[in-house]
């Protein structure tokens, strides 16, 4: 087993339908039903939905904390995307979701960092909410979900980026296809490029960069100094699929992440860490400093908030 002394999970969510609308999950289930039907199976849609919903009953993150301990994960980034503008069956307002995430920071001190997002179409209210979360709640970054219907380089996001630039906060953006209830066109990694060019002091993270548009993600990480990627979703493929990513000189830009609770049906967090650290994992070929960068040092560096003083 590869030895690593410290692990920070750069990509998790709270397992609760309070933050992920039922319509989003139902879209995921429809795709699963299609895939199973292609194998000649006739699964009951409601039974499958119940399976998924049963894995979404950890609103206080107590089970996540327990699984992190078993897996040797010291801390995790909790991501809160805003689906409330695009999917109207959200049960809480985005403001209420921010409050709940603040409460989680208090419930589990020194365990989580929160990256929260607001759909830019909420206008000035959203900007004020994000600023309040940064100043008063201690949130550590901005989370974007472009499949909700906007480009991450849309000018309406620039006030958010100005807040991030002022406080030294990273921005994590989803990439790749998702629930069929949302659009896929804006999920291309390249859409981040103009924002990354316009805000060179902000570090941008491409979520799921090891499984979606991998070549595009590698190109952006290799040539744009302030773009990183996370490998969440690696659970979907054999571990050797990481090989192309690990041999391109961007290992200092790669961030470990699990995407909890998306893969709970597949196994516990410990099994995913073991998959990466197994003796015949391609990560076994990396030098110690590269492993440390992937598992904690790169994300830790991005999490070090440094608010500018006046005149800077």
């Amino acid at each position: 087993m590869i030895e690593i002394n410290r692990i920070i999970d750069g990509h998790c969510h709270v397992a609760s339908t309070d933050f992920t609308p039922r319509s989003f999950l139902e879209g995921v289930i429809d795709n699963v039903v299609s895939a199973l039907a292609a194998q000649g199976l006739r699964p009951d849609r409601n039974s499958l939905l119940k399976l998924y919903l049963d894995k979404m009953r950890d609103p206080d993150c107590d089970e996540l904390i327990s699984e992190m301990a078993d897996a040797g994960i010291e801390k995790a980034v909790l991501l809160l995307p805003d689906f409330t503008y695009a999917l109207k069956d959200s049960t809480l307002t985005i403001s209420e979701m921010f409050d709940r995430h603040q409460a989680l920071l208090q419930r589990h001190p020194d365990k989580f960092f929160v990256f929260a997002g607001v759909d830019p179409r909420w206008g000035i209210d959203g900007i004020q909410l994000f600023e309040k979360a940064v100043n008063e709640y201690g949130f550590h970054g901005l989370k974007l979900y472009p499949p909700c219907g906007y480009s991450p380089s849309d000018r309406t996001l620039y006030p958010y980026y100005e807040i991030c630039a002022h406080h030294g906060l990273p921005v994590l953006t989803h990439t790749g296809a998702t629930s069929p209830t949302l659009g896929f066109e804006t999920a291309r990694p390249i859409f981040i490029d103009q924002a990354a060019l316009d805000f060179p002091t902000i570090n941008f993270i491409l979520a799921h960069g090891s499984i979606n548009y991998v070549e595009e993600c590698i190109m952006l990480c290799a040539f744009r100094p302030n773009i990183y990627l996370d490998i969440s979703g690696f659970e979907m493929t054999p571990v050797e699929h990481l090989n192309p990513l690990l041999n391109r000189g961007i290992n200092h830009k790669i961030i470990f992440g699990t995407d909890w609770p998306v893969f709970r049906m597949q196994g516990p967090q410990k099994s995913f860490v073991e998959k990466l650290l197994d003796d015949d994992s391609p990560l076994g070929n990396l030098r110690k400093y590269e492993l440390e960068a992937i598992f904690h040092k790169s994300i830790q560096a991005l999490l070090n908030r440094q608010t500018k003083t006046r005149g800077e």
Binding site: L48, L51, D54, F263, G267, K275
Partner: protein, 91 residues
């Protein structure tokens, strides 16, 4: 290697084989093999196996899915599936 198998174990192994992805479909299945690493089963494959198990033995999907976190090897699958099937029959 497996010892002598009863009818339930034989059926469970048959269902497991039907579920394997292409890269492991022709492998000999051994009890100590792990589902994720050795047999390359992802979450969809595990779900497909769970549905097959439910259809074959008329068991609730949740009964097996709830225990997936404890299942690592083929032997774990056999032990867990047999226990659930016997509990269902006894109920």
């Amino acid at each position: 290697m497996f010892g002598s198998r009863d009818r339930t174990e034989t059926t469970v192994l048959k269902l497991l084989r039907e579920t394997l992805p292409a890269r492991s479909a022709r492998m000999e299945i051994l009890p100590e093999m792990t589902l994720q690493k050795d047999l390359a089963m992802d979450s969809l494959a595990l779900l497909a196996f769970t549905v097959r198990l439910g259809e074959e033995f008329d068991i609730d999907l949740n009964q097996f899915a709830d225990r997936i976190g404890d299942i690592r090897t083929v032997n774990d699958v056999l032990v867990t599936a047999k226990r659930i099937i016997e509990q269902t029959k006894a109920a």
